[in-house]
Symmetry: C2
Subunit: 249 residues, 2 copies
C-alpha cells in the first residue's frame, strides 16, 4: 500500500456519508487528490468495502481509497474530529451558521492551524445529507449554485470544497507575469534593436518631415520597451528587419 504524503489533521477530512455508487467514491478520491487532499472517510458505503468499482475509477488516486477509514455510523466517523461542516444545498430549519465554501475553508484553515481536526460531510448521491447527519455538524456549507438549476454530483461537490481548501491556503500566486524561466532581452539588447530599426527606417526615408523625426524615434523606442521583449523575439525582429530591406531572394 503506497503511503500518503500528508499527515492526518493537516487538511480537512472528506467524509462520504452512505455513498451509493463505487464509481462516485473513486471519482471523489480523484477530485480530492487534484488539490492534494488525501484523507477520506466512508460511513456505511451501500455496496460494502472494498469496492472494485471505486478502485477502478480512482486510478492514480488509489492510495486515497487504500487509506480511507470505513465506519458503520457517523458518530463513529467523527469521534476524533473537533469541527465538522455539512455540505447541503438546502438549509432545513436547523439553526446553524451557513457558510460559503470560501468562508468555510478559511475558517477550517484557522482551525487546523490551531491544531483542530476538521471534517467535511457529503451526503449520498440522490438525497444528500439527512437532518440527522446535519445535526452532528457545527456548521453548514452551501455551494452558491443557480437556484433554478442544481446538478452537482458527489465528486463535483468534493472538487469544489477541495479547490477552496487549496485556494485558501494562499501559497498559489494569483498572477505570474510572464512564465517562469522566460529569457527576457536585456535593456542593451532592446536598445541595439532600436538602433537597428532606426537605421533601417532612416535609410528608407521613413522619418519625414525632418522636424518630426525626434518625436517619431522616441515613440518607436517606447514601443519596443513596452512590449517586454524576449531575447528570442529580439533576434526574430532583427531578422525581419534584415529580410524586409533585402527583399525577396
Amino acid at each position: 500500500m503506497r503511503p500518503l504524503t500528508s499527515e492526518a489533521g493537516s487538511a480537512p477530512i472528506m467524509v462520504l456519508v452512505r455513498p451509493q455508487m463505487g464509481e462516485n467514491i473513486g471519482a471523489a478520491a480523484r477530485a480530492m487528490l487534484n488539490f492534494g487532499l488525501e484523507h477520506m472517510r466512508l460511513v456505511g458505503p451501500r455496496d460494502g468495502w472494498p469496492n472494485p468499482a471505486a478502485v477502478a475509477m480512482a486510478s492514480g488516486a488509489g492510495p486515497v481509497l487504500d487509506h480511507a477509514g470505513v465506519f458503520a455510523d457517523l458518530p463513529g466517523a467523527l469521534a476524533d474530529c473537533d469541527y465538522v461542516y455539512a455540505t447541503t444545498a438546502r438549509a432545513r430549519g436547523l439553526v446553524k451558521p451557513v457558510l460559503t465554501p470560501e468562508a468555510a475553508m478559511d475558517e477550517a484553515r484557522a482551525l487546523i492551524g490551531a491544531g483542530k481536526r476538521v471534517a467535511v460531510l457529503f451526503g449520498p448521491e440522490r438525497a444528500g445529507l439527512e437532518n440527522e447527519d446535519v445535526a452532528r455538524a457545527n456548521a453548514i456549507v452551501t455551494i452558491p449554485v443557480n437556484p433554478a438549476f442544481y446538478s452537482l454530483n458527489l465528486a463535483q461537490g468534493v472538487l469544489l470544497l477541495a479547490y477552496e481548501w487549496i485556494r485558501r491556503t494562499g501559497d498559489t500566486p494569483l498572477r505570474q507575469d510572464g512564465l517562469a524561466g522566460t529569457d527576457f532581452a536585456s535593456a542593451e539588447e532592446v536598445e541595439k534593436l532600436g538602433d537597428h530599426l532606426e537605421d533601417r527606417l532612416d535609410a528608407a526615408g521613413f522619418f519625414f518631415p525632418t522636424q518630426k523625426a525626434p518625436g517619431m524615434k522616441l515613440n518607436l523606442r517606447n514601443m519596443l520597451t513596452r512590449w517586454g521583449l524576449t531575447r528570442a523575439e529580439v533576434q526574430t525582429l532583427h531578422g525581419i528587419l534584415r529580410q524586409l530591406v533585402r527583399g525577396p531572394r
Copy 2:
C-alpha cells in the same frame, strides 16, 4: 427552443475547442448552468453538431446547447470577443500572463463591467489546447492542481471557472449567521426560562454551599443567553425541566 435568461456579454462565454465526446459537451453545459453561465461556443466538435449524446447528458441544461454557437475554427469563434483566457495546465513557453481562476474571473468581471466581451477557452479532452490556440488568447488561466496528480476532466475545468465567476460576482453572502426566518426567543423568554431553571434547581438543593449560589446563578444565566436560543428550544427546555422534576410516569 427555450430562451436563455442572461444576455450575451453579461458573463464569460465558455468556448470548447475541438471537444471530442458529446457526453462531455453536455456535462460542460450542466457545469455552466449550475453557476448561471449560459453562453457556450463550440469550435470543430469532433462528432459534428447537433450531437444527441450531448443533449442526453445536458438534461435540464439543454437550452445552453440549443443556443451554443458552432464555429469551424477558433478565430471565427473569437471574432467578436475583446479578451480571451486560455485554460491550460502547462505553460508552454508562450510569454503571456498566467492567472489563477480567481484572478482571471476578477479581471473578467472588471472587463465585462467596462462593456468588453470575454471568452474562456477549454481544450479537447485528451491533449488540451494547442500552442496555436493559446497564442490567440490574451492570458493563460491555470487551475492550481496538485503537481503530482492532475485528473480534471473537461466539465470539471468548466465547473471551476464557472464557480469562480459566480464567487467573484460578490452577490453571495460569505456567511449567514443562523438561517433566515429563525424564530429566536426574546430576552424575556430566556429570562423566564432562567427563572424556571433556577427555581427547580433551588428546590433540588443544587445551589450549595449557599455563599456560592450567586456566582453559580450568574453562570447559569450567562450560559442561557450565550446559546442564542430559539423560541422552540426554550419550550423544549421548559418541558425537560418539568419532566425531570416530575420523574417517570
